[in-house]
Symmetry: none
Subunit: 203 residues, 4 copies
DNA sequence: CATGAATGAGGATTCATTCAT
DNA sequence: AATGAATGAATCCTCATTCAT
């Protein structure tokens, strides 16, 4: 997707590589990392399993690259929202919205993030997972806290817990939301924000 | 832990068996089913991996037993709440409360349920997973719909989506909630219900 | 060889293990470590290659155990000679003699020692190789130096170089000496000592 | 390094080829042939492993070329010494001297020769190894036998065994001798010859 | 109830080699 | 003269499972 200079030097990106990453992402999101074999990925790509090692140094390296790309992009987007928005309420709305859009555009990465990140956070070579997660948490919690300070949000809720409640219900959407059905990222987002703002009780 | 001896049969339940199940549950909850080896479990139990087969017919059988016990108990509890409660709002509160208590008392089973159930739903021998899930969904959605009908809950929210939002944020709590810290199941439950009822916005 | 208590606890030794080690030693001595496959060893033992891992944690672990056993025994023998012998000349003779006897009784281990030890000395997990080698060198060089001090050996030779000359020609014997032929350890030893003592020139 | 262009043929010799051979020699001498991968060599040369096949037809071909060059040159030198020297004692001294000089000038080839030749002797395509070795042995043993016949060398030593003792201690020097340290080929050679001639015992 | 030895299938990975570009 | 992608076979190792003791 990202435009890459066509001179192949320094290896990190190539079209073939991206294809393989996409295939791996889909399988890993579906079956889980440890239940996905290198051969599964290679088969799907129409090559032999050993040939994958021409592109990646290990199965773990595939996962790392997948997650790093995803989390870096995501963090960038969140940081941009935080930087460009003044109203905490609007910021939170935009963060939620961005999350739903991400679920729609990169469902596999989201799935992997949800399923594997908690375990990976402690693994060598995956330090970036907890680092990025921490920075994302900061952005969201700042929005919540600022909203409480400004009087937009109720002061009685615990911001840390509330962040987690929101985060979990939003991202978990990726497990059942399939674009092309009754819902779109937009409709889900609108629905969720209404629910988030007003709660469940009738007045 | 709970002595389950309602049927007088000899083999299926024994203390050793329960210990082994608890060990397996912990490991599977932490690493995931496919990343947990029979040997991991045996090591933790202080026996050789082959010896596990004296107690269980297969690795899958362990998982099945774990999940079946958990889901059966959980469904029972939910059904009891549905049967004994008249007010939909109270019913939903009690369901949420029950979920948090379950997270507190059986964190491993909850973790496994979350991580593996979506994949297992389609696996042979795990039909009970989707069956039980469907019945649980019915109970919760009935509470939501009844609450909308009675005027307790806002009619504008989609009950199916709302159910998922609630379900996901509640169960996901199991990923970060560790008893013994700042929170108890009770405090979390209270917190969540307040958030659920009123939403985030200040009046 | 070494009598082992029959209670199998703490695993380190068993008859089967010893058999497998002997097989591995023979193959590794013949083909070299890296050219010997785990399957080669297993085939020779009449089991599947994976079954070897019931006994050893890795191919490297086999090599390490082989070398450690060998070098420990060897060092013990050398130390005993050094401790029990007063005359430096007799000590050196006995050391040489012991070396030839070791070549005769454990040709495979000697071969492995010669072929692999220089490379292994720097490898993790093989620190004992250089440690033992250093202590062996000390024993031999002490004999040489003491012999020079006592006037038994010519003072003009460099003890360090002389040690290496002796060591290399003695151990290299293992590459061509096959018991059962024209020579025995005893005859070789006698021959070598004569050559060592008097040199090549006629008076 | 040495420009070998005596035959006008185009392909077989080129500077690049020689560089690659030198790199391969160093690695093979250090790690052993089977533990040195084609990729190791290519990496060190700054090219891709496949590109090596532009220069050599196989990994074995590299080894063969390396050894053939070395052994041919060596045999030539030994033959020249044998042809040009009358006194057996002087011949042996010169042979020894030549060996030390060769160790100094071509340490990698010497290392490979020592480590791999015994195994290779039986391999197809490496018949020249045993052939050359046999001719070298003949030259040395002739010097020894002639020296015994002339009364220069002691008649009581077995020429075959003595040859091996000498050969092994001389060539093994290559394992520890690094030019630039305390010793040179000359000093080592002098030292060894003194030791060889007189033996270790004081008069 | 557990051990210890093994199986057989499959797992990730390596590696020499090929070939179109 | 080299790349980059791939092959095919082999490598080390893992793992669920079996079974005689």
């Amino acid at each position: 997707m990202v435009a890459v200079t066509k001179n192949g030097r320094s290896a990190p990106t190539s079209e073939r590589r991206d294809e393989l990453l996409a295939i791996a992402a889909r399988l890993i999101a579906t079956r889980g990392f440890s239940a996905t074999t290198v051969r599964d990925v290679a088969d799907e790509a129409g090559i032999l399993s050993g040939s994958l090692y021409h592109h990646f140094s290990s199965k773990e390296a595939i996962l790392a690259e997948l997650l790093k790309r995803f989390m870096t992009t995501l963090l960038d987007r969140f940081e941009k929202i935080a930087a460009e928005t003044d109203s905490p309420r609007e910021a939170l709305d935009l963060l939620v919205d961005q999350a739903f859009r991400t679920i729609e555009s990169e469902p596999d990465a989201v799935g992997i993030y949800q399923n594997e990140s908690s375990f990976l956070a402690t693994q060598q070579g995956f330090e970036f997972v907890s680092e990025h997660s921490a920075r994302i948490e900061q952005i969201w919690m700042t929005a919540i806290r600022d909203g409480q300070a400004s009087g937009d949000f109720r002061a009685s809720v615990d911001p840390a817990i509330t962040y987690r409640f929101i985060r979990d219900s939003v991202w978990a959407t990726g497990r059942w939301f399939r674009p092309g059905g009754r819902h779109t990222a937009e409709s889900l987002s609108a629905h969720y924000l209404d629910f988030l703002h007003q709660g469940l009780l009738a007045d």
